[in-house]
């Protein structure tokens, strides 16, 4: 499942940046000596600094290094202990899941909740297993995944291109700042009526919502990333005669890539929410529509098993995006130091 080894790797939460940033303050200070490299405009407008990744962050926290920074034991002994701890972690996590399922099983059996409205966990899981052999279920999964993937692709490509263009010009950045700040908090679900009117129940309505919601996540991160380019590196590249294209390829892109990946990870979760929501409300085909159908048709066990399925899908997408992030950034210090 999503359980991770607490001792390595960034925290799974998307605001891990704060955490990492705090752990690495001194490192960060060295890197950005002479002041924060963010343009003043962003500061004033209060773009959230919390979601900034911190590419220079060491992944070992103060806690692991020990307060004094001394290693507390030899590497090997530590590794063994850590492995053991990981297994204990997994076991406890498993117990937690079983506990949850047990409570769910007992609630309707003891009559605390009406069993008609909340079938026991075993029934929902059994139903889900039956569904795994059902083509209708897999078509719904495919529809959901397709909407998610196409929406993500459009949003990421558009946001990355626009982000690089806007980010590399001081004027454009100031010029667009207020508009971006205003449009970003607009909830994408506000567009549902528009989507229905213009596109009906087709996949395009879902795409409109998905793209709108994930676009901002990526754009903001890319803007941060481009703003974070080291001035010395840029000047060095210039004095070695790198042209604008090469500078983008060898200086700006590598700096912005970790930020871009953070944006992609955030957007992936949001896109799934919007995909399912669009299906639930508008009725574009997919898991969400199946849930709405099960609910209105009184197939409550099926509804619960579909909810479980969406949860699994969410976990899976989280894991995949994190794996992709790790492999794309395998050259980067923040990931490299994890491997050792």
């Amino acid at each position: 499942m999503t359980e991770r080894d607490l001792s390595k790797g960034p925290a799974p939460h998307d605001d891990e940046a704060v955490d990492r940033e705090r752990q690495s303050r001194d490192v960060h200070r060295l890197e950005t000596a002479g002041g924060d490299s963010f343009p003043a405009g962003y500061r004033v407008a209060g773009l959230d600094e919390a979601t900034r990744p911190d590419p220079g962050a060491p992944t070992a926290s103060t806690a692991q290094r020990g307060a004094t920074g001394r290693k507390t034991s030899t590497g090997q002994a530590q590794a063994v202990r850590q492995r053991r701890r990981t297994w204990a972690n997994r076991l406890l996590g498993l117990v937690g899941i079983l506990l949850f399922l047990g409570i769910w099983e007992l609630l309707p059996l003891l009559g605390i909740v009406d069993a008609r409205y909340m079938p026991p966990a075993s029934a929902a899981i059994a139903d889900l297993i039956v569904k795994f052999g059902d083509s209708v279920f897999w078509i719904a999964v495919w529809d959901t995944l397709r909407a998610w993937a196409i929406g993500m692709l459009i949003a990421v490509v558009a946001a990355a291109i626009l982000g690089f263009i806007i980010g590399s010009s001081n004027f454009l950045r100031k010029f667009t700042n207020s508009t971006i700040e205003f449009l970003r908090p607009v909830p994408s679900v506000a567009l549902i009526p528009l989507a229905v009117l213009v596109f009906g129940v087709g996949i395009e309505s879902a795409l409109l919502l998905i793209v709108y919601a994930s676009f901002w996540q990526v754009l903001i991160q890319v803007l941060y990333g481009v703003a974070d380019v080291d001035a010395v590196a840029m000047d060095t590249a210039k004095s070695y005669g790198l042209g604008p294209l090469n500078r983008i390829r060898y200086v700006i892109f590598p700096t912005a890539l970790p930020y871009l990946m953070t944006g992609v990870r955030l957007a992936a979760a949001v896109a799934l929410i919007l995909a399912i929501t669009a299906q639930l409300i508008i009725g574009t085909p997919g898991l969400g529509a199946e849930i709405a159908r099960a609910q209105s048709g009184g197939a409550y066990t099926s509804m619960y098993s579909l909810v479980l399925a969406t949860g699994m899908m969410g976990v899976l997408i989280n894991m995949v995006t994190r794996a992709v992030e790790r492999s794309v950034l395998s050259w980067h210090t923040s990931v490299r130091s994890e491997v050792k």
Binding site: V95, F175, P185, P187, T277, I291
Partner: protein, 257 residues
């Protein structure tokens, strides 16, 4: 002069966009694009005081109730879970799973269990918005500075004082980051819960306009929703700035030093 320039930077693009819309809609015959006149009419006739009282304020009240509950539950449970290692390990996978469930699918579930009243909508908002706060609080408590923790132990700062003066402040930056995420989730859930099952409220009103093809009114509803989102994020930024003043200040010092 500088002030004027900044002002121009802020206003220029929105003004251009609005001008483009006015010009385009004036000559366009498209059904979906209302003209300036239609929009302003729609605004003044739709969002009257009565409508505000019957649809907007109850929605916003539910939103605030849901958010406050999520914040309280998230922080209290987060402090508890974050303080005990075994509890954290026990609950982490389950919570990660709950967080991965798209919160909107819980609306049909809650409709069954609690009905379609206010409490269902608030419960949906809480169940969707609580996870970012909860998980961030746990993470914040976990990553507390060890030296600070040991020092306060040495000074016998225990119990409530420890929570008040050590744990809460050190977890606060992360808690605020969690709350920021929760804001948008809560807003989405407020709208969706009303679209899905309601006979009043902002979400219901907007979907109703769409069903009756009242295009300018529908647009005005979208704008109102957008404004609520923008106002919420503004308020949050003000609150965050005052709550985390020490933190931003500290970082600035360190960055400058």
């Amino acid at each position: 002069m500088r002030f004027l320039k900044d002002f121009l930077h802020i206003v220029a693009l929105p003004a251009l966009l609005i001008a483009a819309w006015i010009l385009w809609s004036a000559q366009s015959t498209s059904f979906f694009v209302p003209t300036l006149e239609q929009m302003s009419n729609a605004f003044s006739t739709t969002w009257t005081w009565g409508r505000m009282q019957s649809d907007v304020f109850p929605s916003v009240a539910r939103l605030i109730a849901g958010l406050v509950l999520s914040i309280v539950i998230g922080i209290v449970v987060g402090l508890l879970v974050g303080s005990f290692r075994w509890l954290r390990q026990l609950m982490e996978p389950t919570m990660e799973f709950f967080r991965a469930i798209p919160p909107t699918v819980l609306i049909p579930v809650f409709m069954l269990l609690i009905g379609i009243g206010d409490d269902m909508k608030i419960a949906v908002i809480v169940l969707g918005a609580v996870w970012p706060i909860l998980l961030n609080t746990i993470e914040g408590v976990r990553s507390m500075d060890e030296v600070l923790s040991d020092t306060s132990h040495t000074y016998r700062i225990d119990g409530f004082a420890r929570i008040r003066y050590l744990i809460l402040p050190s977890a606060m930056p992360q808690i605020m980051a969690g709350i920021r995420q929760s804001l948008s989730i809560a807003l989405i859930l407020m709208v969706i819960s009303e679209m899905f099952a309601s006979s009043a409220g902002l979400g219901y009103t907007i979907i109703q306009f769409q069903r009756s093809f009242a295009i300018p009114e529908m647009w005005s509803g979208i704008v109102v929703l957008g404004l609520i989102g923008v106002i919420m994020s503004c308020i949050f930024q003000i609150v965050e700035r005052s709550v985390l003043k020490w933190y931003h200040g500290q970082r600035e010092m360190e960055n400058a030093g």
